[in-house]
């Protein structure tokens, strides 16, 4: 494509749009580097001189170190379980053509549009009865269940597009079904496993409502829950709150920068079906 004057004009327009788009980020970053007095006197100006003291204080008072650990643990365990359970189930659903397997597939699809609010209260009761309120296990079980429909949907679509013959050779050579799955099928699923991993990880890491409900006050709170409590506690200290928000968003933004090609491709391909 040639770079014409019209392209240049479009370039200017798009950059202007991006600048407007980034305005909230400018507000946040400048607040975090200013002291209280500067925030009151010149709320929109650049910080001068920039002060970084808010960051250390925000990190400590929001308890972000343990929150990061909690979020990481819950996200990693849930995603691993989703990949294992989802791919196994989808392999069965995609490779059998019985009425039972078709009904099961539809049953999973229903879960995609079922709003979780409908089961929210009985599930809360159930998690409580199982003694899992305030535990990692409760959260991991919840995320695995709630994200399974989408995961099964992605895997099933992908497996249907694969030729069926790959496993036969392994099975005839005497491998068990599980061995054939682990050594032949699962490696073939790598592209869709990447998508499943990214979409679920972003969803689980960022979730707010369920951990608030199930983990509130347990000491196992995830990053969004800690930040929520922190912001409500220091509501009038804008600089501190802004610094806390930046610190809390930074890990996932950095991860996104490193993996952006896969993240964007994963979002697009995962949802194209």
């Amino acid at each position: 494509m040639k770079y014409r004057p019209r392209t240049f004009l479009l370039e200017l327009v798009m950059i202007a749009v991006a600048v407007g788009f980034l305005f909230p980020v400018y507000v946040l970053v400048t607040l975090a580097f200013k002291d209280q007095q500067q925030i009151a006197n010149e709320p929109l100006s650049l910080p001068s001189p920039p002060s970084v003291s808010s960051f250390g204080e925000a990190w400590r008072s929001a308890g972000l170190d343990s929150a990061l650990l909690n979020s990481t643990l819950i996200t990693v365990a849930s995603v691993l379980l989703l990949i294992a359970l989802g791919s196994l189930a989808a392999y069965f659903l995609a490779r059998t053509a019985t009425r039972l397997s078709y009904s099961l597939y539809i049953l999973f699809l229903v879960g995609i549009i079922l709003p979780f609010q409908l089961g929210m209260i009985p599930l809360y009761q159930l998690v409580d009865d199982l003694g899992l309120l305030g535990t990692y296990q409760g959260m991991i079980l919840f995320y695995t269940g709630i994200q399974l429909p989408f995961t099964v949907f992605l895997y099933t679509g992908f497996i249907r597009s694969l030729p069926a013959d790959y496993t036969n050779a392994a099975l005839i050579d005497g491998a068990s079904h599980l061995q054939a799955f682990a050594h032949v099928i699962f490696p073939l699923l790598r592209p869709i496993t990447g998508t499943v991993l990214i979409l679920n990880a972003v969803q689980i890491w960022n979730d707010f409502f369920t951990p608030l409900l199930y983990l509130g006050g347990s000491g196992h709170e995830t990053v969004p829950v800690r930040v929520f409590a922190f912001v409500n506690q220091y509501t009038s200290n804008y600089g501190l709150v802004a610094a806390g928000l930046i610190l809390a968003a930074l890990p996932i933004l950095l991860l996104f920068l490193f993996l952006q090609r896969y993240v964007i491709r994963g979002f697009a391909s995962g949802l194209k079906g």
Partner: protein, 309 residues
């Protein structure tokens, strides 16, 4: 049944052929089904059931009250207002988010030099937690005349547009909608970009040779071929809009008054603030029926558009 009988036999006997391959054993699906049934199916069915009871949420005591909760809902001004807010929000989000996402996708799908950088900028908010985005926008919506958006409006000579963005009941809902749109426009953009990549360049070239302008080529080539991307985008933003919760709790908590309450926030408050679990699940059931009905109608309509386009 046949599956379980076959499973009892030795390994070799199970290897019946279907779809050109050896059928995987049925128990591959069991762990997923168990977890799914426990976390999603059972609670949803139980939830739908308690919508017809007066359950208070404490203990097991509940009695069947038939359609009373739904009758109460029809007389409940707060719930009806929330239903109205939910629908308005959803329409605003579906229309604006997807229109913006499409324009952004068309813009960064061209030969401009900054296109990769711009994709990153527009997409980055998608990966950040909605709670944090909500708090970020609370800074932007600072009611003080010399802070955030108000200050920016003043600086460019639009001082007369200054508002108490989240405190004014007639504006607050749209302020929340705009936050959601800001965060999710990049999501729509990426799906449209994936769709645009599927449009063959030769079609555009031959149309250009025939003298078709930019608008004509968009209308007759790009737009029809984007139909699947439109379907997915509209579906996702509709369900997202109908079940919107986090942003409202974090930004306005349903206020001022009930101006930004949605079905999700009402059912949450009824359950966990007022202890009316039965009534709350009735609201949830209405929400579920809404989501299901709209999804099916959209799939039907948008899919038919895909095939005829």
């Amino acid at each position: 049944m046949t599956a379980s009988v076959a499973a009892a036999r030795p390994e070799v006997a199970r290897r019946t052929r279907r779809r050109g391959g050896i059928v995987p054993p049925w128990w591959f699906a069991v762990p997923a089904i168990l977890v799914y049934a426990l976390v999603v199916l059972y609670p949803s069915i139980a939830g739908a059931g308690s919508a017809f009871t007066d359950w208070s949420g404490i203990g097991e005591a509940k009695s069947f009250v038939g359609a009373d909760n739904f009758k109460q809902l029809l007389r409940d001004d707060q719930a009806l207002g929330a239903l109205r807010n939910t629908l308005l929000l959803t329409v605003a989000i579906v229309v604006v988010q997807n229109a913006l996402g499409l324009l952004l996708a068309l813009g960064v799908h061209t030969g401009i030099k900054s296109r990769l950088m711009l994709r990153l900028v527009f997409f980055a908010p998608v990966v950040v937690s909605p709670v944090m985005v909500s708090f970020l926008w609370k800074f932007v919506y600072n009611p003080a005349p010399d802070a955030g958006l108000n200050a920016a409006l003043g600086a460019v000579g639009l001082g007369s547009l200054r508002q108490d963005w989240l405190g004014n009941p007639s504006i607050a809902l749209w302020s929340v909608a705009f936050t959601v749109i800001w965060q999710c426009a990049g999501y729509s953009m990426v799906i449209f970009l994936a769709g645009l990549e599927g449009v063959p360049a030769e079609l555009h070239e031959s149309a250009m040779v025939d003298g078709a302008g930019t608008v004509a080529r968009f209308r007759h080539i790009t737009w029809p071929l984007l139909a699947p991307a439109v379907t997915i985008n509209v579906m996702l933003s509709t369900v997202g809009g109908l079940t919107l919760f986090t942003q409202i709790i974090a930004m306005t908590n349903g206020g001022p008054g009930y101006a930004t309450d949605t079905l999700s926030t009402v059912l949450y408050k009824q359950a966990f603030v007022f202890g009316k679990f039965g009534y709350s699940t009735a609201v949830a059931l209405v929400l579920a029926v809404f989501v299901a009905a709209v999804s099916f109608l959209q799939i039907g309509y948008l899919r038919s558009r895909e095939t005829t386009a």
